[in-house]
Each structure stands twice: as structure tokens, then as C-alpha cells.
Amino acid sequence: MESSILTLLIFVPVAGAVLMLPFAMLYGKENAHYYKWIAAITTGIQLILAGILYLNFDPALSIAESPFTVQMNWIAHFNIQYFLGVDGLSIPMVLLTALLSFICIISSWKIEKQALGYFSLFLLLDAGMMGVFLSMDFFLFYIFWEVMLLPMYFLIGIWGGPKRMYAAIKFFLYTLFGSVFMLLALLALYYYSDPHTFSLITLIHTVGSIDAEIWGISVKYLIWISLFIGFAIKVPIVPFHTWLPLAHVEAPTAISVILAGVLLKMGTYGLLRISYPLLPGEVVNFAYMLAVLGVINIIWGATNAIAQIDMKKMVAYSSVSHMGYVLLGMAAVISDSPAGAQAGMNGAVMQMFNHGTITAMLFLLVGMIYERAHHRWIIFPNDYEKPELAGQQGFGGLGAKVPVYTGFVAFAFFAGLGLPALSGFISEAMCFIGGFSVFRTLTIIGTLGILLNAIYFLRAYQRIFLGPLNEAYKDLTDISHRELFTLIPLVVLILFLGVYPAPLLDMISPAMDGIIKIVQSVI
């Protein structure tokens, strides 16, 4: 059981997608009912499996010692392995993926358009994401990384908003541009290391001895740059972020949740899983740049969010800002105070998890209002299709009409701006503590981000929910039970981890200590 659980986590969704085919043949493709339930049950099983994994997970064990690790030959003559493993870095991401996938299926319950395609592609996407977080073989990692793009392209392109086709291909081209460089890095790592291997665990020990040069530049430096391009586009690090607002806004609600909640984390996960342990020397050289980019992300994302009048776009830019904290925390790995390095690294991974839950909630809530009002403008734009509404407030005074919904939005907005006692605060504070131990000035500039976050969240809240009720929405219905069901788990997690983050922290920190040790050893 223990050794097959990781395989099941990846392939249960695939099995679910395949299972839909006989149903399609027997009952026709229009019968959305079956596909919803198959998807819900498969992701439910996956969530239970992830829960079992969590309960039996021992953070003290390395990947080599863990009973969950699977290692088999796939293509022997290239030394490609089917190598899955889980450690403190990947388990929060695995849990997050399983949870959000399940929630997203529930929130997609009203999808009727080509339900078979939607739910089967969603399950394939789910499998791809799981695969990325569980692969310990670089080749396998790369395969899952790319496989994930295909369902994403279709999910945005078919079920998205008005500019969906442009958004889908832009997303695909951007991420592919990044990942092809990763392919070069992958090959360089393979051929320059001795023995030739793709195993990320073995590479930690063998990459250090590479001292070759290409075009007079150190190979390790070039590998770092190639990997960085791939990961930076995914995070996304400004100025590689322009695909993000478009894709997030055009994607259907559940897909925005997955994009912001899981896909963005892959960039930082990749840096921590591959670049950090394999190329510690380059990490030390680039840490300052990472911190600078992190702060730029924080400020750039937040100021852009302030300027948005589309709620979804605002949330999308807030993601850019929040991922900046992760980068700042990660950069603190070079801190000469052990506490600073630990706070930064642990904070970064916790922020990855917490941002996943918070942003998921934000996107779900935006999706709910969009479903009811068929727009999500905080203020109608000047070129709005109905000229009499241009420049007017989109909503107003909803607080009295839909109190439960308003309460959830308030909760999510406060979590987003980092209110103490909610999980975002803990991880952001840790990132800043870590950052402050190395980059004083930068961190002080970065903390401005908190203020900026408060501006746009509070202002949006005020414009939508406070004041006199906009008469156009006097028939608005409050949140349904199904929607409640998708939000409650996230609320519980955000609140619980905000008060008592120890379970998450204890899981992460041994793995982070390992990475810190590797990086610190080359300073």
C-alpha cells in the first residue's frame, strides 16, 4: 500500500478520465451528470489518498528512506527512472493540489457545455500537477510539467471568457518558451554529470563537480539561467508575468483557482526542488537578484491590482504580489543567521500553501458573483457595452442583501491582506523576518506591499458591499449549500493555520533545513 500510494495519487485521476469513455459510449456525451460524479468521486478518492499520505508521513525521513518512494527503470539505456517520492517540500503541495482539485470539481457543478471534455481534461490536468510535485526524476518531472499545459490550453480555450482563444495560446506559448529552456538544462545536467543520470537525488551530489564551460561561460551558470527562465515564467516573476492576468481573467472559475492555487506554485517549487539543491553556488550569487525581483513583484503586483476595476483581474494581480513574498523568503536562504534562513525558507513554502488556499477562495467568490450578476466590474469601464452604465459602480450595498456571501468575502479579503490570526499573516511575516536578516532596505520596501494590499482589498470591499443597495441587484440570491461546501474547508484551513501553524511548519522544516545546509555549505 505505502509504496503504491504515490502512483495512485497520479493515476487515479487518469483512470477516472478513461472511465468516462465507456459512459460516453453508453449514455451519450450530453449527460453531464455522470461525468460530474465520476470526477467528484475520483478527486475525492485522491483527496482521501492524500489524507492517508499526510497521516503516515514522517518529516524526519529523507526521500531515500521514505517508505512511499517508488523507483523503477523506465528507459534503461537513458537511465530514465519512474522515480516518485515525497518530502517536506512536496507534501504541502500534494495536499493543496488534492484539496483544490476536489473543491474545483464541486464548484464546476454547473458546467453543462461539453461536460465530458471539461471533466476529463480537468482530471488529466490534476494528474499532471500531481506528477510534477511527486517526480524525483528530472525527465519525469519535465514530462508532467509539459503534459499539464495541454489540458490547460483546452480548458481556458474552450470554456473561457470572450478573449479565451488569445489567452489560451498566449499562456501556452509563454510557458512553453520557458520550459524548452528547461529541456536544454535537463540535457546539460544529464551529460555533464558523472554518472549520467536524471535522478534529482543523485544529481545533488554530482552536479557540484562540473566545471566545464560553454562559450566561455560556466555550464552551471547557463543551467541556472535556463532553469530560471522556465520557473520565472511560471511563478510569474515580473516582467514575465503578462500571460497571467489574461489567462486568469479568461479562464473559467475553477481553472483560475487551479492556475493561481497550484500552477503558480510550480515555479517556486521547481526553484526549490531543482535549482536550489543542484546549483547552490549560483543560488548564493543570485540571491540578491531574487530578493530584488521578489520586491518588484510585491510592489508591481499590488500597484497594478489597485488600478484594476475588474474584480478577477484585481485578484490575479494580487497573486503576482503574493508570489513576491515567496521569492523574498527564498532569497533569505543565504542569511548568516540560521534563524533568518529558516524563517525565510519555511515562510516561503508556507506562503505557497497559504496563498493557494486564500487565492482559491478569492477566485471562487468572484466566480459566484459572476454567475449571478454576469459581470464582475467593480466600476464599469468607459467603453462598456451599455453606455449608460459606463463609469458607474458595478455593484454597491450588497452587504445587506447577501450577508453570508459578504461575510466570506470579508474573510477572504482580510486573509489576502494579511490580517493576523489568518494564515497569510504568519507566512508573510516569516518571509519578511527571513528577508530582513539579509536584505534590510529591500524588505522595508517590500513591507509597503502589505499596505498596498490593504488599499485595493478594502476599497473593493467598500465599493461592492457597503453603501446603499444597487437596485439592479435586489433579487440577488445568497450563497448556496454547494458553494458553502467549497468554501468551508478553505475557511477552516486559513483560520486554523493562522492560529496554529505548527502542523504545517513541522512538516516543512526538516526538508528546508536540508536545502539550507546544502546552500550554506558553499558560502
Partner: protein, 488 residues
């Protein structure tokens, strides 16, 4: 081996020759006319059986004119498979007049025979003759649609370019003969090792490259490709884009590896080491893939786009040709094998679309995903494979080629050019995917069903993309056996 005793090793070719003659004879007997189709297919099947049985043998036949070896066997299997499939599919292509089907099949089999010879020639005369044997029937096949202006144009352009290129190649071959005093490429190799002025090889080398480059449509000898591919009947386009190209690569590899290397590597002690032909190929490869891709981006006609994209695939394969090593040959052959299937399935899908919807323009494919979901799903798989993304065999093929550059630590700039090209490729291949799935279409939701032969050809040729991704080791093992010629 003497001529007479050679014959017993020459059975597959003899079967094909016999079939060609029979098809032509039966065509004039009204009662037997209908058997020509099954006769052609039967002959190809029979030849395949004999070929398969003799796999692994290695002989020089007809007094050193051609060589039967695993390397040529591998390519011959590709030729047989593609010709078989094309003859089969052509029967269901509306464009083609069934009145000429016997001639059509006979011509295809003559090309097949020519390709067989191309992959085994080890003598300059045979090389020239076999290339002509492939080219001349191809000119006719491209112009098969008698009343179609574009088809006539295609044929004429093909003839002019083809004869010019083969003229230049013949010039190159004769200079080579003048320098070395022999037409046997083994003897030429030996003579080249003691040559006084190695630089004098450059001239014939480039001229020969013109001839081969024209066959594989390497830039700048590609100008015929788009017009011929667009004008020719679609099955012929599909055929030209794979089989003669594979033959071109077979002869390119054989000639260059035999004449300009020693045991599959460029040794520094030879005078030949001064001739940096891999660098020439590297530049040609970069230009070929970039130009092919950039031109493909602008195309709105599916056939024309696939034509330009096939040029860029040649650039990719040439990339591995810049590395002189048996492993690089393996990478090219793997890529060719996968390319054969994915390109054929893409063209078959174009046949299906043009037969049923009269669709040539990409916009005509709008909403096709709803009207035949299964075929479109496989088409999407093929396009993903052509782009070179996992989980498909197209990715594995590209991976092997990139791996060669890294293994030998050469031409990294070429790897960067190629990797950027594959991003460009995504853009235009996914225009088709976008049309099929993302665009709503004009509201026509009636299902369109392909003929079972077309249907299953597309599905089988496309499904291999998944199969050879999940487990490709046996295929690589087979290819490895086929190149024992150089790896020893």
C-alpha cells in the same frame, strides 16, 4: 557477388518489378483491370515478408553496385509501409480519377523500386540512376490531376527544379570521379585518405549536397516543395513528404558516412578532417528549420502549412547529422520513423477534411471537433507530436536529437535555435487545434464519418505517438541493430 548469384538476395525488388509489369499489362485487359489494386497491395505485402525474412543479412550485390544490409532494410520497411498505406488511401480520395488508378499504382511502385535502390546504392552511377528513378515518376504523380491548373504547375515546377538539381549533382559526382578515379564509394573513401589537396573536395561535396538537399528539401533547395505539395493530389503530397525524404536521408547518411568518415567518426589525422562538412550542415539545418517554420506561420492553407512544416522537420533531422557518430544516425532514423507516421496521419486528416467538407483553408476546419470527435482527438495528438511535446513520440524524437548535441558538446547554438523553433511550431500547429475545438464553427453539428480505411489509418498512425512515448526502447533497439554497419 556476380550478377546471377545476386538475384537470390534480390527477391523483394524482383517481386516489385514483376508487380509493376503485371499491373501495366492487366490495365489494358478490361476484364482484369479491377485486380490491379489488390495486385499492387499483395505484391507489397509479399515483398515485405521476404524483406523481413532476410533482415540482418549483409551482401554487396551486382558486382558492388548495391549493398543489402540492415541499414537499407530499415529504410525499405519504411518505404514499403508508406507506399502500401498511400495506395490504400488513394482509393478513397475523391480528387483522383479511378480511370487512371492502375497507372497511378504502377508509378508509385516504380518510385518504391527507386527508393529501394537509393537506400542500397554504393556506386556513384547507381546513386544517380536511383535518384532519377524516384524523381521521374514523382513528376508525373504530382501532375496526376490532369485538369487541375495547380497540379500541372506543381508537376512543371518539380521537373524544372528536379532536373536542375540532379544536373548539378551529376556534375559533382563526375568531379569526384575525376579526383579519385573510381565510382565505387568504398574505393573513393580509400583514395580520399591520401588526397593531396583536401580542399578540392569542397566543390563536389557541395554539388552532391545540392542533389540530396533537393530530395530532402533542405533550404535553399526547397523552393519546389510548397508549390508541389499544394498542387499535387493530397495522397501524393503525403507520400512525397515522407518516403522520398526518408530515401534522401538514407543516401545522404550512407554517402557521407562512408566517404567522409572512418568507422563513423571524423579522425583528426586524415586529410578529410580539414573538410568541415558538419559545420556546413549545421548552418543549413538552422536556416532550414527557421525558414520552414517562419513561412509555415503565415500559411492559411492546411496542405501548404504542412508542407512548410515538413521543411522545418528536415532541419531538425539535419541537426543530428551535424554530429558524426552512429548514435546520431540512430537519432535521425528514430525521428524519421516517428515522422513518417505523424505526417501521414496529419495528411490523411487533411484528405478526410477535403473529401467531406471540401476544406482546404484552416478556417474551414472550424468546429470539426464536434462533428467527428474521435478523429479530431487523434489529429490533436498528431499535432502535439509534430510540435514535439510530451506525451508523444515526437517529443522523444526531438529529445534524442538534442541529446546528441549535448553528448558531443557541439553546436549548442544550433540547439538554442532549434528549441526556439519548436515554440514557433506550437503556434501554427495549434491554429488547427484552435479551429477544431476552440472556434464554435458555423453551427453545423451533423456528424461526419470517415470511410473505415481512412478512419483507422488516421487512428493507428496517430496512436503510435502515444505508444512509442510510453515505451520506445524496443524501437531504439531495432534501429541500433540496423546501424551495426557503423557502430561495429
Amino acid at each position: 557477388m556476380s550478377n546471377l548469384s545476386s538475384l537470390s538476395y534480390y527477391i523483394p525488388e524482383l517481386i516489385i518489378i514483376l508487380a509493376i509489369l503485371l499491373v501495366i499489362i492487366l490495365d489494358v485487359i478490361p476484364a482484369c483491370k479491377k485486380y490491379t489494386f489488390s495486385l499492387s497491395l499483395g505484391a507489397i505485402l509479399l515483398a515485405s515478408v521476404f524483406l523481413w525474412q532476410s533482415y540482418g543479412e549483409s551482401h554487396g550485390l551486382f558486382m558492388g553496385m548495391i549493398s543489402i544490409d540492415p541499414f537499407s532494410h530499415f529504410f525499405k520497411m519504411i518505404f514499403l509501409l508508406s507506399t502500401f498505406s498511400i495506395i490504400l488511401i488513394s482509393r478513397y480520395e475523391k480528387q483522383l480519377d479511378s480511370k487512371y488508378s492502375a497507372e497511378y499504382n504502377a508509378l508509385l511502385m516504380i518510385v518504391l523500386l527507386g527508393m529501394f535502390l537509393m537506400s542500397s546504392s554504393i556506386n556513384l552511377i547507381m546513386i544517380y540512376l536511383s535518384i532519377e528513378l524516384v524523381s521521374i515518376p514523382s513528376y508525373i504523380l504530382a501532375g496526376m490531376l490532369k485538369n487541375d491548373k495547380e497540379s500541372n504547375e506543381a508537376s512543371l515546377k518539380y521537373v524544372i527544379f528536379g532536373s536542375f538539381a540532379s544536373g548539378l549533382m551529376l556534375f559533382g559526382l563526375s568531379i569526384l570521379y575525376g579526383i579519385t578515379g573510381s565510382t565505387d564509394i568504398g574505393v573513393i573513401t580509400a583514395a580520399l585518405q591520401t588526397i593531396d589537396y583536401p580542399l578540392s573536395i569542397y566543390f563536389p561535396l557541395i554539388l552532391i549536397l545540392v542533389g540530396f538537399g533537393y530530395k530532402i528539401s533542405m533550404v535553399p533547395f526547397h523552393f519546389w516543395t510548397p508549390d508541389v505539395y499544394e498542387g499535387a493530389p493530397t495522397p501524393i503530397t503525403a507520400f512525397l513528404s515522407v518516403a522520398p525524404k526518408a530515401a534522401g536521408f538514407a543516401i545522404l547518411i550512407r554517402v557521407f558516412y562512408t566517404m567522409f568518415t572512418i568507422d563513423g567518426s571524423v579522425s583528426a589525422t586524415l586529410p578529410l578532417a580539414n573538410i568541415n562538412w558538419p559545420a556546413i550542415i549545421a548552418v543549413a539545418s538552422a536556416i532550414t528549420m527557421t525558414l520552414g517554420n517562419l513561412l509555415a506561420v503565415q500559411q492559411e492553407d492546411v496542405k501548404r502549412m504542412l508542407a512548410y512544416s515538413s521543411i522545418s522537420h528536415v532541419g531538425f533531422m539535419l541537426m543530428a547529422f551535424t554530429i558524426v557518430s552512429p548514435d546520431a544516425v540512430r537519432a535521425i532514423m528514430f525521428y524519421l520513423f516517428i515522422y513518417l507516421f505523424m505526417n501521414l496521419s496529419a495528411f490523411y486528416m487533411a484528405i478526410f477534411a477535403s473529401n467531406k467538407l471540401n476544406a482546404h483553408h484552416i478556417d474551414d476546419w472550424d468546429g470539426l471537433g464536434k462533428r467527428n470527435p474521435i478523429l479530431c482527438a487523434f489529429m490533436a495528438l498528431t499535432l502535439i507530436s509534430l510540435t514535439g511535446l510530451p506525451p508523444t513520440a515526437g517529443f522523444v524524437g526531438k529529445f534524442y536529437i538534442f541529446a546528441e548535441l549535448f553528448k558531443h558538446q557541439q553546436f549548442y547554438w544550433l540547439a538554442v535555435v532549434a528549441i526556439l523553433n519548436s515554440v514557433v511550431a506550437l503556434f501554427y500547429y495549434f491554429k488547427i487545434v484552435k479551429s477544431m475545438y476552440l472556434v464554435e464553427g458555423d453551427g453545423a453539428h451533423d456528424k461526419i464519418v470517415a470511410h473505415p480505411v481512412v478512419n483507422w489509418s488516421i487512428i493507428l498512425f496517430s496512436a503510435q505517438n502515444l505508444l512509442f512515448f510510453i515505451y520506445w526502447e524496443p524501437l531504439i533497439g531495432f534501429i541500433e541493430k540496423s546501424i551495426s554497419l557503423w557502430s561495429g
